[in-house]
Structures are given as C-alpha cells and as structure tokens.
C-alpha cells in the first residue's frame, strides 16, 4: 500500500467517532455598512503611512507629474501593460532577475487595496509584471485608483482570483526578529511609495 493510501486510511480511522454530516457552526460575518469612499481613502493612506511607507494622493490629471517626482531619474523598470510611459525606463520583460538587482526602482499598479490594514494586493497581471519585478529592486512605486480601495480583508478576498499568484504588500520589507520590534528594510524593497489617484 502506498504512503498516500496509508495516510488517507489513518485519517479515516482517526475520524471513526465523527458523524460525517458534522458541519461546525460558523458565526455569521458581521456586515457593517461600507464607509463612504472618502473615509476609506483616508483610512488607507493613514494605515499605509503607519508602516513607514511614503503616501501621496493626487487628482488623475496630476498623476504623471507625481509619478515622475516619485521615481529616480534613471534605473527604472516598468511592467508590460502599464498605462503611463516613463521616459528612459526599461521593459521589465527584457530584464533578467539578476539584472533586477542593479535596478533602482519599479513602477506598477495594484489589483485591490485594503483600507483597514493598509495593504496593496498585486495579482501580477498587466501593469504589475512577474513577481520578481516588485521584489528585487530596492524601490517600489505603486499607483492605486481610489475606487480600488476596499474596507477589509474579506472584500479583497472576494475580488481576487485564486488561480492567479497574488502578493499582499503592507509597507516596505520589515522584520520583528530582533527583540520583537519592527524594523524596516530587509530583503524586499526598502522603500515603498503609494500614490492614490482620484478620478
């Protein structure tokens, strides 16, 4: 008998006392009315700033200028499918993972953002690029549309497609491993800039 059959057999034997129709009762999720958009945006910005990230907010018309200000003048990569062009930037698809180590910054969008926890979620589709792109460079500038901000984790889970790889980012890379205090700046990007664009 294979290890698989033995383990599944042991699981079934272990659960002999359990009525197979047992469904553990879950408390109903509390449904609070969604706060208005402005409150969500403000909460999101405040929570991201708590993580020592840089936060900016601008009107759609000013976005290109804000992006230019947030990025260094050279050494920028961008993913395919980005709706803004960055003069002098390189196409992320043409840069190897090892070369990304020599890159200064990457500019992407996000799929959804969570106000309660100050989290960006990327699903690495167009405008976001493969996962290494937002990992190896030391600076990540991420543009979020105000209407992408949701209240809490359940709203984000509901919007995401589990078939896609997702990366949840809450502030710059950090660790709590030295005396359990949070210190920013370990392996991921040490600098995170989040720009919220109003429509």
């Amino acid at each position: 008998m294979s290890a698989r059959e033995k383990i599944l057999g042991a699981v079934r034997a272990a659960l002999r006392d359990v009525d197979p129709s047992t469904v553990p009762a879950r408390p109903a999720a509390r449904r609070t009315p969604p706060p208005d958009r402005e409150k969500l945006v403000r909460r999101f910005l405040e929570r991201v700033a708590d993580y020592q990230a840089t936060v900016l907010r601008c009107a759609a018309a000013d976005l290109a200028a804000e992006i230019a200000r947030a990025l260094p003048p050279t050494g920028v990569v961008v993913p395919a499918g980005l709706e803004w062009s960055v003069p002098g930037s390189r196409d992320g698809d043409q840069v190897t993972d090892r070369e990304l180590d020599q890159v200064s910054a990457v500019l992407t969008t996000a799929t959804v953002a969570i106000a309660e926890t100050g989290t960006l979620v990327l699903d690495h589709g167009p405008g976001q690029g493969r996962r290494a792109l937002t990992l190896v460079p030391d600076r990540h500038v991420c543009v979020v549309r105000a209407d992408q901000i949701v209240a809490d984790v359940p709203d984000a889970i509901a919007r995401l497609d589990p078939a896609r790889p997702t990366t949840w980012i809450s502030g710059p890379s950090a660790t709590s491993d030295i005396e359990l205090n949070r210190v920013e700046g370990v392996h991921g990007p040490r600098h995170l800039t989040v720009i919220v664009a109003d429509r």
Partner: protein
C-alpha cells in the same frame, strides 16, 4: 552546522537550568512584554474579534473533520496546476523525498523559507548528510543557524538573543557561510537587518532550488499561502527554478474564502500587526513567473495520531501564531529550549505528546506538566484551542501509560490514602484535628518531592465543620 533536540532532559531539569540564566530571562521578559502589548492593541481594534476566533476554529474544524476529502481535493487541484504531489508518513520519508528532488537537479544548496514542518522533520540535517547545504533565510532562523543554536520560539526562533548577541554572531559566523558581515557592524537593528540583506542576496540570486512550508493549503483551489515579513519568503518562492513545499496535512483549509478569516486572525495574533508586510499565494505553476517545477510533500508524521485523540485533535487547528507562548508565565521564565522541541510553550506542551504519543519518552511525557493551567493561552488562541483541557487529558494519559511502574508507586499510595480519608467525614475530621496540632515538618517523607516546589498550607486549628457545629449552623 546544525544541532538537534535529541537527548534533551525532561522539562523540570531543563527548566531548572534555564531559570539560572539571567541574560535569557532578561531577553525573554523584554521581548514577550513588547509583543503582548502590540497584540493587545491591534486585537482591541477589531470589534468582532470573538466572532472571528469562533469562525477560525470552525474553519479548521471543518477541515479536520473531513480531512480525507479535503486532502484528495487539494491533491487533484495541485496536480491539475502542474504540481507533483508526494505523501510522507514520517520524517524520514519526507526528508528522502526532498533530497531526491535535490539530487535530480544536482543542486548542492537550497534556500529555505522559514518552516516549522521542516524543522520538525530535521530536514537541514538530513540534507547535510547528503552533502546539500540548506540555507535558512528568515532572519531569526539565520541567527539560530549561524550561532549553531536551537530555536526557542515558533515565530521568532532567536527570541532568546538580544541585539548585542546577534551582532556578535553575525560578525563571527557570516564569513564562513558566505558574504561576511560589514566590518563596522553595530548592534543597531537596522544595521543587523541590512547585514542579513547583503549576506543573503547572492544566495537568493544563485539558488536553483528552494524549500518552503505553507501557512495554509486551500483545498478547493490548490492554492498555497506563505505569510512572512522580510521578503525572504518571496525571494525563495519566486527566483529559483524548483520549489518544494513540505506541508503538514493539517494545514488544509476548505475554501479560498476561508482565508478572509485566517488572514485577519494570524498577523494580529503573531507579530501584533494589522497585517504582516508580505503574504504570497500561488496556485501551481504560473507560466513565465517563478519556479517552473513544483513539488508538494504532504506530511503526516504523527498528525493522524493526534487526529485520533478526541480531546487532543483540536491542537491541529493551530496556525502557529505563538500568541500562547508570549502570554505563558512558564514560557516567559524558562524560554523555549526547555521544551526540547521546535514546538515550545503551551502549544508545544500538547502538540509534542499528541504527535509522538505518550509512554514512550520521559521527556515528551514531562511536557503536559509544564503548565500552571492558568488558561491565558486559551484566551489568546485565535482558533480557540482549549490548551488547559488538553493538558489535563494528556496528564491522565501519561499517568495511565506509567501505571504499574515503580516511580508512580508513592503517588498512587498518596492518592489511595487521600481517597480513604475524603470518603468519610469522620476520618477527615480526625485528620483535620491532627493536622491543626502537629508541628509541620519541612520534609514529609515520600511527599518531599511534592513539597520541595510547593508550600504546604498549614491546616486551620479549628476546621470549618467544627466551627459550623459550634455556631449552631446545622439548626
């Protein structure tokens, strides 16, 4: 360059030694009080925290009570996404499977995401015997590995080290493992984190194979989830060509939607943050992004034994947050090494005996007694594991397993005598009368083992029942 817990003394002896280490007690007291405050603050922000805990417990129970169905579903989903699924009954099988993948790709080193399951099975030592270097990339695991030390906490295995000790370990040991620490390294935590960044960067960029665990494995989608802080996990999950995940069978959750509860419970309970810096989810192979060969090893190693224990199976709900360690008055004073396992603290005191069985190893059998049963662990547990209930059940199992052995004889005699006395009002009155008058000896013959660590209260000179009679309370 790795040690194991093999040959650790039983808890009372190990704890006694640890209590004599002033530096350890100072480091632990500082770290656990910091994290307790942070957790309390972010938990208080969530208005429906108790409902969330109940939902977390129900999700994990649902997974465990139908574990066979969920495992089969998980396997189907993983396979359909190009992942090779292996099953391992014990540590030796799991280690052999991982080593086999490494040999197939002729790698001499692997980079590792922090993983409790691979610590439990001794994977690093097994790979080392095959001539394969396993590099820990989590900061705390790196500190433990470079310091030739043992882990002492689930979330922060180097919690027993302060910044000065960490600086010394980095300065001394980094050079032998790769890029040396900067010559002017100080004990500033930001500088220490930077030293780890520089040391590991070349390993991330060079490694062809990574080994990870998983915080959750979603049955209905085949998604694995890794929750982390530093980005070392993302590096390992993204840059190498081959990825092997060693996943305990109890990590299964039924559906993707279940993550909405668990991803709210875990960060607040673990590091006391609203959200940890990075969480990665992936569902098999993503063409053109990340490793293009993936293996999952589904690990039993005692989990089906624990599942068969009707009281103890709730321990398999554990999501490894460490909140129970941080509030435990015993853990805070003895530290994690005294528990002799990668799973220390209150959860370790039940998980180790459940995974390994009682009546076989005295060290394991001593763990259910490593508690004052104060219940703080149960109150903070995000999935409501009633640790005191399981501790008491396991104590009964340990006593049963030792029945008839010599060193239980005096305890049995004491219990039998107590039963005779307590069964009769007359006998109890006589003993109370006597106890109120006899001088209290410091050593009570066969009871010395009990009184050495506990104060024996002096009986009242007049028993309650005599007082009651005299006051006419019976009328």
């Amino acid at each position: 360059m790795s040690r194991t817990f093999v040959g650790m003394p039983a808890f009372p002896e190990a704890a006694h030694r640890a209590l004599g280490n002033q530096q350890l007690r100072a480091n632990l007291g500082h770290a656990t009080s910091t994290i307790r405050e942070k957790r309390a603050k972010v938990v208080a922000e969530v208005p429906d925290w108790e409902d969330l805990r109940r939902a977390g417990a129900a999700i994990k129970d649902d997974a465990l009570l139908h574990l066979d169905e969920h495992l089969v579903r998980l396997e189907e989903q993983l396979t359909s996404r190009g992942v090779v699924v292996h099953w391992a009954r014990d540590a030796a099988e799991a280690c052999a499977l991982v080593a086999g993948v490494a040999r197939d790709h002729q790698v001499e080193e692997v980079v590792k995401v922090k993983s409790m399951a691979t610590g439990e099975i001794g994977l690093n030592e097994a790979l080392e015997r095959e001539g394969i270097a396993a590099w820990e990339t989590d900061l705390a695991e790196l500190i433990v590995q470079l310091g030739d030390d043992l882990p002492s906490h689930i979330l922060v295995p180097a919690i027993h080290r302060n910044r000065t000790e960490i600086r010394d370990i980095f300065a001394t040991a980094m050079g032998a493992a790769g890029r040396p620490a900067p010559a002017d390294l100080t004990d500033d935590p930001a500088r220490l984190a930077e030293a780890a960044r520089l040391h590991l960067r070349e390993k991330f960029l060079r490694a062809r194979m990574a080994v990870t665990g998983a915080n959750f494995a979603v049955a209905d989608s085949g998604t694995l989830v890794v929750v982390e802080s530093e980005g070392n996990g993302r590096m390992c999950l993204t840059l190498p060509e081959v990825l092997v995940a060693v996943v305990g069978i109890e990590k299964v959750v039924p559906t993707w939607r279940d993550l909405d509860v668990l991803l709210r419970l875990l960060p607040r309970s673990a590091t006391g943050e609203r959200m940890n810096p990075y969480t990665s989810t992936w569902t098999g192979i993503a063409p053109g992004d990340g490793p293009q060969e993936m293996h999952v090893v589904l690990l039993d190693n005692g989990r089906t034994r624990a599942l068969a224990d009707e009281v103890g199976r709730q321990a398999l709900r554990c999501i490894r947050c460490s909140a129970c360690l941080n509030v435990c008055p015993v853990y805070e004073r003895t530290g994690g090494h005294a528990y002799g396992s990668v799973y220390p603290g209150p959860i370790g005191a039940i998980l180790n005996p459940l995974l390994r069985g009682v009546g076989v190893d005295d060290q394991v059998d001593s763990l259910p007694y490593a508690s004052s049963l104060c219940g703080a662990c149960y109150e903070v547990c995000p999935v409501r594991i009633d640790i005191p209930e399981v501790l008491v059940e396991l104590r009964a199992q340990v006593v049963d397993a030792h029945r008839g052995r010599r060193h239980g004889a005096s305890e049995r005699l004491g219990m039998r005598t107590a039963a005779r006395v307590l069964r009769s009002g007359r006998r109890l009155a006589a003993v109370e009368w006597l106890g109120g008058r006899l001088p209290m000896p410091r050593r009570l013959g066969p009871l010395t083992a009990w009184t050495r660590e506990r104060d024996l209260p002096r009986p009242a000179r007049r028993s309650f029942r005599r007082w009651w009679r005299r006051e006419g309370g019976a009328r």
